[in-house]
């Protein structure tokens, strides 16, 4: 005799999402369920309570995409961290960067990484890039109550689409909206200035080495005008974190490449001697 709910197993198997499994069997482990009750914001918003991650830039280049993040986290007017990393590999063919409330963003990143690996292990194939973007959008949406209290997280997803053989970019809003971006995009407090720089520096079909220089320079411009974005720190030898993704997979750009790019910009600008 077939048990009554044998057919129900089929519909339950439609989702192999790790996040949905957690929600069903271990709801306390989901980032969106971690808070106990509603937060009572002091003076209207909880934004000043925890470190805030700042600027992320991302762009396509010939044969792939790149994502770069500065190394600063702030709490109000205080620099909370000079070493924070805000760009992470999602899986072999995707990277994500986070801007906004740092703790929630790091939790979200960890959940997203496990989500992709879990799918890959259960299904035996990788999730499509559109699938990854949709899963990330739904995770951002679940954080909406916290976002309304001032603890918003806005990720940026970049990946190599193995079907279309090209790099693609996705941005998100706190309500779970998912938008595909063309050419380049940036998020975070310094994004306006980074975007301005990218408009002049980005060209179609950049090669990878040139794209890395463009990314470092746009972050330099963002740090120049936004106090919450950190520039290259020569004293502490801190450079932005950059990942590139192409058909061979995601790669973290080596420190010495970043150092060369950052020192090159500092030297060119010192020589130019411009004030503004």
């Amino acid at each position: 005799m077939i048990p009554e709910d044998a057919a129900a197993l089929v519909s339950r198997a439609a989702s192999t999402s790790f996040a949905e499994y957690l929600g069903r069997d271990h709801p306390g482990l989901l980032p969106s369920n971690r808070s106990t009750g509603t937060l009572a914001p002091v003076h209207g918003t909880a934004a000043g309570l925890a470190p805030h991650a700042t600027t992320i830039v991302s762009m396509t280049f010939s044969g792939g995409v790149l994502m770069a993040g500065d190394r600063r986290a702030t709490m109000g007017n205080i620099i909370a961290s000079r070493h924070i990393e805000k760009v992470f590999p999602g899986d072999l063919f995707s990277v994500l960067g986070i801007a906004g409330s740092a703790g929630i963003g790091l939790d979200l990143t960890r959940l997203f990484q496990v989500e992709l690996e879990h799918y890959e292990k259960i299904e035996g194939t990788r999730m499509s890039l559109d699938g990854k973007a949709n899963r990330l959008a739904s995770m951002v949406r679940q954080n909406l109550p916290m976002a309304l209290q001032g603890l918003a997280v806005v990720p940026l997803l970049a990946g190599f689409d193995t079907e279309r053989r090209e790099g693609r970019l996705f941005s998100f809003d706190v309500t779970g909206g998912r938008y595909e971006e063309q050419e380049h995009h940036s998020v975070g407090s310094g994004s306006v200035f980074a975007r301005g720089a990218l408009k002049k520096l980005w060209k179609p079909n950049l090669d990878e080495a040139r794209a890395i220089q463009v990314a470092v320079e746009s972050l330099y411009d963002a740090a120049d005008d936004d106090s919450a974005t950190g520039g290259p720190d020569v004293v502490r030898q801190l450079w932005p974190v950059i990942y590139t993704v192409n058909s061979a997979g995601a790669r973290r750009v080596a420190e010495r490449e970043l150092e060369a790019a950052a020192l090159g910009i500092i030297e060119r600008r010192s020589v130019a001697g411009r004030e503004a």
């Binding site: 790790f18 482990l29 960890r110 496990v114």
Partner: protein, 241 residues
Amino acid sequence: MTQQFYVSPEQLMKDRADFARKGIGRGRSVVVMACRDGIALVAENPSPSLHKLGEIYDRIAFAAVGKYNEFESLRQAGVRYADVRGYSYAREDVTARGLASVYAQSLGAVFTAESKPFEVELVVAEVGETPAGDHLYRLTFDGSIADETGMVVIGGAADSVVGALRGRWTKDLAFPEAIRAAVVSLQNDGAAGQPAHPLTSAVLEVAVLDREPGTTRGSRRAFRRISATEVDAMLAEGGRA
């Protein structure tokens, strides 16, 4: 009212064990062996997509024989267990010992409580930084768990495969040699008295757990499937030597 006949617990357990053994005996064997480069897993499996070998976590793999639907559900449950454990604690807190013990509990519970036992036999393998850190656990349908060293064979004709493998296996083998030894031994996987049947890459499923995935591939995930062309190359190399 119908009267139930008395069946002694011994008889009940024996009937269930015989039933499970009969189901497992129909399947082809799987070899899991530790060697110098890591752990090699070799199975005879004509399907390229319905796997008998699977990845559980960074350094942990799964091998099974028996009914596909039953061991596949156990594999998926194992992946969930490992991912939840790694997500809520830390990645290094996921161990083969922990996983093998929950598998043993679940197989044991099904064996005694459900209307039919699982017709499966499993191996949970974890590769260590050094050969001394390797762990191989063999789990049978009734929830018994055995901690094996070096190599383990599961499946219907496991004894004849072990016999063939014993002379070929040493702990210092590299992957190509280990895989060749496993394939040659699996050819003895027939009913007693039957001649060895040749195996080609088309009917083989091969995977490895790399000992140092970080340095060789830049990944923390040790599990890697070996493609049919790679298997062909390994087998051809042995033919020449």
